[in-house]
């Protein structure tokens, strides 16, 4: 799902960078100093989750789990996922330098949007309803991410539109897996530690 340097046109890259700076700044604003250790540990957890390979047909996919990251971190998912992408690019060579902004937006914005849509649902008093919303959150965030990647490619030039369509349809199995896993994880969290979901929301006093 990473886009590499040199593939996208300058306007797309610059727009991505500007949006990423805005998102990271807003996410940090919503993150009090006291919660930085927790955000850091969770950011590390999602980094490790992205190393987990899940079998799918004859092959396997690695997890993204940005929907779940959104459900737990809220807006703080923006800086947390940015840090993960920065480390992945520098130490593993996935992604690139100038595209760091657009990659962050493509992964983190769906996380935040899925959080805004689904947080009420996963808090539902009915456990089954909550599980279903967890699945919706996981699938929705991946759908949005592939859509954003496809849009980034399509905006760059006509010649990328088939590639954009290819990216979108190739990720439908990933979407199903991520939705399924998110549903199970939300079910588990609801039973074991329900306060984790939306743990980074500001407490109204």
């Amino acid at each position: 799902m990473h886009i590499v340097d040199g593939a996208l046109s300058n306007p797309v890259v610059v727009t991505g960078a500007v949006l990423a700076v805005g998102g990271v700044a807003y996410g940090l604003k919503k993150l009090p100093m006291e919660k930085i250790p927790a955000a850091g540990v969770l950011s590390a957890a999602f980094f490790v989750a992205s190393l987990i390979h899940v079998p799918i047909g004859p092959s396997s996919v690695h997890l993204i789990m940005n929907g779940l990251a959104g459900l737990i971190l809220g807006w703080a998912a923006f800086p947390a996922l940015f840090v993960g992408l920065l480390l992945q690019a520098a130490f593993f060579g996935f992604g690139g330098v100038t595209v760091l902004g657009i990659n962050t937006v493509n992964i983190a914005l769906p996380a935040v949007l899925a959080y805004l849509v689904c947080i009420k649902g996963v808090r539902s008093s009915n456990l089954t309803t909550a599980t279903v919303w967890g699945g919706v959150c996981g699938a929705l965030s991946i759908a949005l991410t592939t859509l954003f990647v496809a849009i980034s490619l399509a905006m760059t030039g006509e010649e990328f539109i088939p590639a954009a369509k290819f990216v979108f349809f190739a990720h439908i199995p990933v979407l199903v897996i991520e939705g399924l896993l998110s549903a199970v994880a939300v079910y588990f969290l609801r039973l074991v530690k329900p306060e984790v979901l939306g743990a980074f929301e500001e407490v109204k006093r």
Binding site: E34, G40, V41, A80, A89, G93
Partner: protein, 263 residues
């Protein structure tokens, strides 16, 4: 099992001081960060294939000087290339232009081929330079360097915490997987597999959250008020001037050849 967050065999020594390897390891981390950023911008803005070949050659040189393990680095590059190969293969067929050959009635254009080569060269040159100049830093050094480049303190702290706990959580993940294996779990294409992975993920998150609570308590006990003093100081030395001059010359050559071609 340890997940190394660094390309080079470079770790903190027993006293916690970063040990460095290679000629590039002794260059100021700030200079390496800025150089990577400028290099990336210039390469992405270039279009002439020979310019990009010079850039890729420079990246390979940097890789050698940074003492990156060549085999595993190239393997990582190949992994990245396999991600983008589909898009690159599609390009000649989707870009209009002079036909090169046809496959099942679909013409492949020269323009599309050159575009694909251009993207491949750019992506590899930039990522290789990034791994050579930034990837060889101790991840903690990267945080300190970013701090000295005026990156917001909170973001730097978030990065430092993430770096600190990636290895810890990776080991936790390995332990959980081991426990699953001990109970006869085998990954298949089944609902049971996906449910088990979901629980694994949930358990990792629960443990991460509880760990972070213990960390915060321990830190508060030691007087944590929300700030970590970042004590690393960097001094510009003669070596950094030489490095800056070399990188400047490289960028000039890249920009020069690009302008020469355009005129």
């Amino acid at each position: 099992m340890v997940l190394a967050l660094s390309g080079a065999a470079q770790t903190l020594d027993s006293t916690g001081r970063a040990t460095t390897l290679g000629l590039l390891g002794r260059i100021d981390p700030r200079a390496r960060l800025i150089a990577t950023l400028l290099f990336a911008c210039v390469v992405v803005a270039s279009h002439w294939i020979p310019t990009l070949l010079i850039a890729l050659a420079a990246s390979c040189t940097a890789m050698v000087f940074a003492q990156l393990p060549i085999a595993s680095t190239l393997k990582r590059m190949a992994a990245m290339d396999s991600f983008i190969i589909f898009i690159l293969i599609l390009l000649p067929f989707t870009m209009p232009g002079e036909a090169m050959f046809t496959v099942f009635g679909f013409p492949a254009s020269w323009e599309g081929l050159w575009r694909a080569v251009e993207i491949g060269l750019k992506a590899n040159a930039v990522v290789l330079m990034l791994m050579a100049l930034v990837g060889t830093m101790e991840a903690v050094t990267l945080g300190h360097a970013l701090h000295h480049l005026k990156v917001p303190e909170r973001l730097v702290h978030l990065l430092l915490f993430t770096v600190r706990y990636i290895e810890v959580l990776y080991e936790e993940h390995v332990r959980l997987k081991q426990a699953m294996k001990a109970r006869g779990f085998k990954a298949r294409n089944s609902l049971h597999t996906y449910r088990s992975y979901g629980y694994l993920l949930g358990m990792m998150l629960v443990r991460a959250m509880e760990r972070s609570e213990r960390i915060l308590d321990a830190m508060k006990c030691r007087g944590f008020t929300g700030r970590i003093p970042l004590l690393g100081r960097y001094e510009y030395t003669k070596r950094d001037t030489v490095f800056a001059a070399l990188m400047g010359a490289l960028l000039m050559i890249l920009i020069g050849t690009e302008i020469y071609h355009a005129v």
